[in-house]
């Protein structure tokens, strides 16, 4: 087994009745990088994570996690996961529950209590340590679930929708926590929030209807250097596009779905100096207002184009 890969799947399939949640999947996820797992609803992201963790058994094919079968005893406490729909026990405070989980992870009683407090602090829940799960909001429970995934020193961390249901400030906080872990563990993030994937991941695995659509570095999927993505206040007209294309530095223009108001302008790599200023000038000349101005393409547009 190649030690450069944290996860290897071979012809992996999971079938529910006649329906394939994952079908003939061959994926190799590199160690010590952060990989995004994306795809439209029903693509098989959560199923793949569940197969990796041994929550469900494959109908066919194999999964290899850190050189082991998913349920191998040697993997215990080396892999952690933020599961999507798991609930904490009722009637016990989150501190007690995290302490119990830390004990099961191999911490001694006192050290487990300290570890529980450490991870609660990481997710800004130290003041809620004595609260029962039934007294906490959805966002707080999500943060508790993230906290349990950060306990100890897992070599592989799987995060299923880590920012779903979190407010923007908490999302930034969680992103910072994940960034801190990036050189210490292999991280796999499944999310519909593609800006989180873009900000945190080096590679993406794109699934569609249970099959592998693409597995590449993010830079190979979305152009980072020779494009500018603009979110306009109004969708561009054909006349405006003709005018824009007339600029000598413009190589191509891609427009999003009608109403999306998104436009990607590809430019000549030889003429990069002041290109943003030039584009802003053209926009101003044509009376086109904008809301966002981003260098490079966005994953969001790639996904929208490919999974309409």
């Amino acid at each position: 087994m190649n030690s450069g890969f944290a996860i290897t799947t071979r012809q992996l399939s999971k079938q529910y009745g006649a329906q394939f949640a994952v079908q003939n999947l061959d994926v190799e996820i590199k160690k010590n990088i952060t990989t995004g797992l994306i795809g439209p609803n029903g693509a098989g992201k959560t199923t793949l994570m569940s197969l990796i963790c041994g929550f469900i058994k494959p109908s066919d094919g194999t999964v290899n996690v850190l050189g082991q079968e998913p349920n191998a005893v040697d993997l215990k406490s080396r892999v952690s996961i933020l599961p999507q729909d798991a609930h904490f026990l009722k009637s016990l405070s989150v501190k007690v529950q995290l302490t119990m989980l830390a004990e099961l992870q191999g911490f001694a009683k006192q050290a487990a209590r300290k570890e529980a407090l450490r991870v609660l602090d990481l997710v800004d829940l130290i003041e809620a340590q004595n609260k029962l799960p039934e007294q906490m909001s959805h966002g707080m429970l999500k943060r508790c679930a993230i906290a349990q995934a950060l306990m100890g020193e897992p070599e592989l961390i799987l995060l299923d929708e880590p920012t779903a249901g979190l407010d923007p400030s908490t999302t930034d906080n969680i992103k910072a926590v994940i960034k801190n872990l990036q050189n210490k563990a292999t991280i796999i993030i499944s999310s519909h929030n593609l800006s989180v994937i873009e900000d945190l991941c080096h590679e993406v695995v794109i699934l569609d209807k249970g099959r592998l659509h693409a597995h590449r570095e993010i830079d190979q999927i979305v152009v980072k250097q020779q494009a500018l993505t603009i979110k306009l206040t109004d969708h561009p007209t054909a006349e405006q596009l003709v005018h824009l294309k007339a600029a000598d530095w413009v190589k191509d223009i891609k427009v999003g779905k009608p109403g999306s108001c998104v436009m990607v302008v590809y430019y000549d790599p030889q003429q990069t100096d002041g290109i943003e200023i030039s584009l802003l000038q053209v926009l101003k000349d044509m009376n086109m207002g904008y809301r966002e101005f981003t260098k490079g393409e966005r994953l969001q547009e790639y996904m929208t184009d490919n999974f309409k």
Binding site: C53, F55, L104
Partner: protein
């Protein structure tokens, strides 16, 4: 079945800790305590000495065979034996209830997804089983000791007379309860809620009991065979207070426990979570 003893111990201790704080555990303890308090209040009004008299032999001979009746009401304090009879006959309901949530809520609430990256399925399954067994054993040990003190205080029993019987009863009730806990391991591996698991276990117990009773009118042999599905066939042996009968009951109940436990394990180890 791979097991790490340290992890198993932690799961068992967490299970017991949670049992004493969860709605399910507290509900069991409240029902159990209220039931026995009610029974104990009746002890003061019952002339248990009558059970030892020749007048009662007619009724007792109808309920038990002569050997069991003598063992229960002549050879030992009848009041304490009365407690034992009530305890062993009500044990299935309390045990099925107390042991209903072993892995059921773990499955339903997907709490197993927090446990599985840290523990093996075998450790979780066995840990929950041992936790339920210990909870039931503790409950019956405490109530038996209370019953002993009660008959000493209210029914003129001597402590020396009932002490060893109390220990014997604790052992017998422990032996009797374990296969029922294993039966609930199977039920809770099948469903995703403790309430549903309790309903399944108690419903199964009732249905088989009714079938056995009805079949008894048609064919004793068939009724006896069907009765072996439930793990209470050794009750009569456990009422004899004989070492040989106890050993036989232990042997048979170990088989019951192994069968139910293994069937539950087959489901739990293969099921998607």
């Amino acid at each position: 079945m791979t097991l790490r003893i340290g992890t198993l111990k932690k799961i068992v201790s967490h299970d017991l800790y949670y049992a004493l704080r969860s709605a399910r555990g507290v509900l069991f303890l409240v029902f159990f305590a209220v039931f026995w308090l009610w029974i104990f209040t009746k002890f003061g009004h019952v002339d248990t000495g009558w059970l030892k008299s020749p007048d009662s032999s007619f009724i007792l001979a109808w309920l038990f065979d002569a050997k069991t009746a003598q063992s229960l009401f002549t050879d030992r304090h009848p009041g304490f034996s009365l407690y034992y009879l009530i305890a062993i006959n009500t044990a299935p309901f309390f045990v099925l209830f107390a042991a209903s949530d072993q892995t059921a809520n773990d499955i339903g609430g997907q709490y197993l997804r927090f446990l599985l990256p840290r523990c093996l399925r075998s450790e979780i399954y066995l840990g929950r089983f041992i936790g339920a067994v210990l909870l039931v054993w503790m409950a019956y040990a405490v109530v038996t000791l209370l019953a002993m003190l009660w008959v000493v205080a209210l029914n003129d029993a001597k402590l020396t007379e009932v002490f060893f019987d109390a220990l014997w009863m604790i052992v017998c009730l422990a032996v009797y309860a374990v296969p029922f806990v294993a039966m609930m391991s199977l039920c809770s591996a099948l469903v995703g809620s403790a309430a549903l698991s309790a309903l399944l276990g108690i419903g199964f117990y009732f249905i088989v009991t009714i079938i056995v009773s009805v079949m008894g009118f048609q064919s004793d042999l068939l009724a006896d065979v069907i009765a072996y599905i439930l793990p209470n066939t050794m009750k009569s042996e456990l009422l004899l207070f004989e070492f040989g009968a106890l050993i036989k009951a232990v042997g048979v109940n170990v088989i019951y426990m192994a069968v139910y436990f293994y069937l539950g394990w087959l489901i739990f180890s293969r099921r998607d979570i």
